[in-house]
Symmetry: C2
Subunit: 437 residues, 2 copies
Amino acid sequence: MAEKRQRVVIVGAGFGGLECAKKLEGGPTDVLLVDRHNYHVFSPLLYQVASSLLNPSDIAYPVRRVFAGSPNVRFRQADVQRIDFEARELHCAGEVVIGYDQLVIAAGSTTNFFGNRAIEHRALGLKSLSEALQLRNHILGCLEAASACEDRDEQQAWMTFVIVGGGPTGVEYAGALAELMKLVLEGEYPGIAVSPRIVVVEGRDQLLGAFSKKLGDYAERRLEKLGVEVVTGTVVASADDRTVTLKNGEVIEARTLVWSAGVKPASLAAIERVPHTERSRRIEVDPHFRLRGESRVFAIGDIAGKQDADGGELPMLSAPAMQAGRYVGEFIMAHLSDPETESPTTAPFRYLDKGTMATIGRNAAVCSLGGLEMTGLLGWLAWLLVHIYYLIGYRNRLVVLWSWAWNYIWYDRPVRIITRAKRARLPHSPELVSSED
Amino acid sequence: MAEKRQRVVIVGAGFGGLECAKKLEGGPTDVLLVDRHNYHVFSPLLYQVASSLLNPSDIAYPVRRVFAGSPNVRFRQADVQRIDFEARELHCAGEVVIGYDQLVIAAGSTTNFFGNRAIEHRALGLKSLSEALQLRNHILGCLEAASACEDRDEQQAWMTFVIVGGGPTGVEYAGALAELMKLVLEGEYPGIAVSPRIVVVEGRDQLLGAFSKKLGDYAERRLEKLGVEVVTGTVVASADDRTVTLKNGEVIEARTLVWSAGVKPASLAAIERVPHTERSRRIEVDPHFRLRGESRVFAIGDIAGKQDADGGELPMLSAPAMQAGRYVGEFIMAHLSDPETESPTTAPFRYLDKGTMATIGRNAAVCSLGGLEMTGLLGWLAWLLVHIYYLIGYRNRLVVLWSWAWNYIWYDRPVRIITRAKRARLPHSPELVSSED
């Protein structure tokens, strides 16, 4: 007698969830991948959408297409709001209920404003596609507003951009924004008499805290060469529509506050009963990514507070999420007959750190690969190769490569249009489309 | 003593306004081009954005870039709401006032619902970029909703798409939608058990009323070959969120109503004092596109009810708008010293009809060029060449060509992501960005 196929539900089609589903594809389980959006987004390049270089579809890929014709992987667009571990059910917006036999929580992370409501109300994030488009529209709108402005101080305020957070996202966006400004201000905005002011604010003593001091200093020098001001050792204390106030007392007249100073696990991690790590509020998991006391439930990626070999937590990056996704996919396959085993035969997960990188601008990036550090053109080429390699889908890779080449040769930013889809008309998949207000 | 340079203000960066500004570029006037958006949109291809083939930026081009480095053409993003002919001033949203010496009104047209409020509330338009993105999101949302649906009738309603209007836009979108459905339903939506139903409703006896009966019949046959139902000789009487009712009594359960049944001049044409044509409500102009009694003010393109040689009006198409834009540019240059002349030396405008065309799908289009009519592959190739030629900008042309080639070879629709920029945060260029709700 054939056993009933187990249903594995994966929440989140980010790097972790997607890899997990791929690992389970073709196997003896039924896999349902659930996401609020109908696409997977290559989030490391969101900053290029926000700086008018790439189109949304260059870095976003329909999940259904990844699994087109798949024998056992299905997709469902739904917004998971609550998990009932007893009944083994997901409760989603619109009263949709999805049952599971085994569950992988890979819901990712959102922007962390550390409880500062004023900043949350004011700042522009860079964690989702709709935020990247919002930021693109905002920046282009600032240029139009500055151009229409007769008061010089007012104009300078429109042309002042404060970026909070000197991690990879902040550094990459600052560099891309400086290049965008340089490009468009040459000839397209004769009405703008002031120079753009881009300020990166970082709480630590150096940029790119995850890298060595040497690489952080290099990034700072390169940004300054692009005209970016770097302020380290202080944080933003408050902000309103017209000013940003730093903890060191400095008040900056700026209409733009970009927030890349931290992320926190997605709100699904806050469900009751699930133990959290103390500091990061990520879901506590065992060496196999299983939730404590819920051996049929796994958590991977940014939402999971998995202990690293050296006692720290896995970084909130795509690489550990992808490795965890593959690990959990294999783990599930290996223990199908006894999903609640207390002594798994699979060896505990080990994170293989292949290194990290960040690009600052034209011909300038920093890479830290094992003991090897690279900067400048070499680092930039390494960055380029790795990102092209990891972009999902053959066409996307070519299109992005084409856009990069075009930008490199012609210093162009083609996607400079201020646009926004009109609001959805029908209450059909309502919370999905119209939530992005 | 040098005379003061005259200021020519052009309202609208569509086909007419853009050509007029180009004609005036480098001349002895100061030109200010005003538009609500910061881009020119190649509107004949909006339906390809709405059917997930092209990205917005493939058919939208920043106006400022067209005139980058121009000696005398400037751009301003503003929403003109009223014209004060006495004071020679434009009054825009946000209390912005723009003065002119000569004015060219090229504000285009909007969707015409013929006063039917229920339909206006319900239908999706295809006249602007934000509408095209709304329609794209809606169609992809319908697929998700259908896929999540267990009731077969309900599923069929999500998969039924009524397109009102059998002109080029309706025919082209119906064909593109049929091809999109065929593509994605093969493998990506195993949960959808019903066939998509696409219905084109046209009030006249044939599709493509501007073409010959032969070409209209050809279009009908080709659409039917793609599985599209064509209903002629009736119109939509009413619609709600769940049904569309035709005047012939038929009630169609459909969640989608696309409206391409007519356009009307933009609301600027409704300003007091400006004489209108009786039927079309377009601004009356003399043989030189000057408003009656306002010799410093011109109206061109869809908003102008210019008499044709045979007593009719110029069609609301890009070609006559472009020709009128160039004509008015030349006219202004020729009469700079005497802008209010009653006996211009310039010969009256004559429209050169180079023909019209519409594509139905793969290898199928209709072209009517003078006496010559083409269909099938030949017509399709002609359509292709003309559209590539007219797309503004070298890069856009290549990107679009690439997308078409990709689609042609791989039957792919890459831009299948449901996304929408988050709402603008700041009240800065507010009416411009956030108006697209």
